[in-house]
């Protein structure tokens, strides 16, 4: 695999002693960058998204608040005072993200987002080009959303004891979560722990196969996972889930298969294949709670068949990453007495 040696690829550098990755700031045009680096660390620490929209102020999104940055580099909630993004800015950012090679990211443009080093994702919106009714690409980009990915090793600590049975086999697990509640972060950490091993539980690591359709879990950039996904994890990056699960069974002989956001009938069929092969499955689904999931015909079937031995429900009730409930999927009885606060808000 080609080793990328590009000056601005220092993955670990941060801004203002916060945990905000320097790399993201370096993608912005100089003018905007100079404003952003002046932000105080406590805002940078909390930043979840930076949104650029054409002819509108730049928007800084934390879990609780929206800010903008004014021309002196101060943060403010008065959006009109903020830095107004021009089409030139957007073009510069795109050039920088794509390394001036838009053609190389066609698949990403089709999907609507680009994964960059560090596993951060940049969402795109603009004018969609169709080819025979299917999305071919996005042109005239009018909005960018920088979603900052932060690794939280240890978020799965309260959960993993419930996922391993007496024979040290991993239980089939479903994580139910609304968007932005830490679903992916939790899954990633579960994968890491199962793959590397959990000394405190006497659990030795197992081979994990990861189907990362949206390059979100491993954050693969040029073939290299940007997140710690464990020592024994194989990643199928950008692969459709249904096909990927089958491929992994045949090619990599994993003990655990993990994937994100199942839902289509193909996914469910592939899941059944995994379960029949005696491989443990860990996956997630968008939803509020078990009731919510059971209203969807595809998913209702697997839930009612009691395929999943453990069901974890996430919410934001005590902050991002709150573990609302852990259920025994065979009898639907709760395994924890009350919601656990997530590690994300410490």
């Amino acid at each position: 695999m080609a080793k990328i040696t590009i000056g601005y690829l220092d993955k670990t550098a941060v801004v203002n002693k916060s945990n905000f990755p320097r790399y993201i700031i370096d993608l912005f045009p100089v003018r905007l960058r100079n404003l952003l680096i002046q932000l105080p660390a406590f805002i940078l620490d909390e930043l979840e998204e930076i949104r650029l929209r054409i002819n509108r102020p730049v928007l800084l999104v934390t879990s609780t608040q929206h800010y903008t940055v004014d021309l002196k580099g101060n943060y403010t909630e008065e959006y009109a005072d903020g830095y107004w993004v021009t089409s030139d800015d957007l073009e510069k950012v795109l050039h920088k993200i794509s390394q001036s090679s838009i053609y190389a990211w066609e698949e990403e443009f089709k999907r609507g987002y680009i994964t960059v080093p560090g596993g951060h994702r940049i969402g795109l919106s603009g004018r969609v080009i169709l080819d025979k009714g299917l999305v071919k690409s996005i042109k005239e980009i009018s909005g960018l959303n920088f979603r900052i990915a932060r690794e939280l090793p240890g978020v799965a600590d309260p959960v993993v004891p419930y996922l391993i049975d007496r024979d040290n086999k991993t239980r089939h697990t479903l994580i139910i979560s609304p968007p932005r509640c830490g679903k992916t972060t939790l899954l990633r950490d579960i994968i890491r722990q199962l793959s590397t091993g959990i000394p405190s539980l006497g659990f030795k690591g197992v081979n994990v196969g990861l189907v990362d359709e949206r390059s979100e879990l491993a954050g693969t950039f040029c073939g290299v996972p940007q997140f710690d996904i464990g020592l024994r994890t194989d990643v199928l990056d950008g692969c459709p889930k249904a096909q990927g699960m089958i491929m992994l069974i045949r090619s990599m002989a994993p003990q655990v298969i993990a994937t994100d956001e199942i839902g289509t009938i193909e996914d469910i069929n592939a899941m059944e294949e995994v379960l029949n092969a005696g491989i443990s499955l860990i996956t997630t689904v968008h939803g509020k709670d078990l009731m919510d999931i059971r209203q969807r015909p595809n998913l209702k079937k697997v839930i009612d068949q009691r395929c999943f031995q453990r069901i974890i429900v996430l919410s934001r009730s005590l902050g991002v990453g709150t573990i609302e409930a852990i259920l025994d999927g065979t009898v639907f009885s709760p395994l924890i007495a009350k919601p656990l606060k997530g590690k994300a808000v410490s």
Binding site: I6, V30, K92, H95, S100, S101, E106
Partner: protein, 172 residues
């Protein structure tokens, strides 16, 4: 004796000048061929390998002799180090160096300049069209350069010596 030496010196000097000029005529089509070769390799990297330009340009540059290879390497360097420079701008900057160091004519450089403006800025289909166009144009230039070489190279090879001989005859 001295006269003979002087005469020989004059003939040699003018002869070498003639050879250098003749050499330049063959240098241009050669460099154009290297350029075409480079563009073809770049095309493979871009359209089939989906390699981002900084890496693609480096790979191409390493496979070609100077100054054409250096031109590709320079473009990659400008692109990597330049603050928010687009591929087109980096290409143009590297082109200035190429103009000074190669036997290429302004009309050849114009072809490259025009191509550079669209470099990397669009999807595969459009890049493919651009690459095809520039290849055709460069082939055209190469053909013209080759014609000129055939016409002029022989001429200058002999012209220098002949001119030297004429001057010697006049002086004697």
């Amino acid at each position: 004796m001295l006269k003979l030496c002087g005469a020989l010196l004059i003939i040699m000097a003018l002869g070498i000048v003639g050879l250098v000029i003749a050499g330049n005529y063959s240098l241009r089509p050669q460099q154009l061929r290297y350029l075409i070769h480079g563009i073809k390799m770049l095309e493979t990297e871009m359209l089939y390998g989906l390699t981002p330009l900084p890496i693609a340009l480096k790979r191409v540059g390493k496979k070609l002799p100077a100054p054409v290879g250096q031109f590709f390497l320079n473009t990659a360097d400008f692109l990597i180090k330049g603050e928010g420079l687009t591929a087109g701008e980096a290409w143009e900057m590297a082109l200035n160096d190429l103009a000074n160091e190669s036997a290429l004519l302004p009309e050849d450089l114009d072809v490259l300049l025009y191509f550079g403006q669209g470099l990397g800025g669009s999807d595969r289909e459009e890049q493919s069209k651009n690459l095809k166009l520039v290849k055709e144009q460069l082939l055209n230039q190469e053909r013209k350069a080759e014609e000129q070489r055939a016409k002029n190279q022989k001429l200058w090879q002999y012209l220098g010596f002949s001119l030297g001989a004429v001057i010697v005859l006049i002086l004697i």
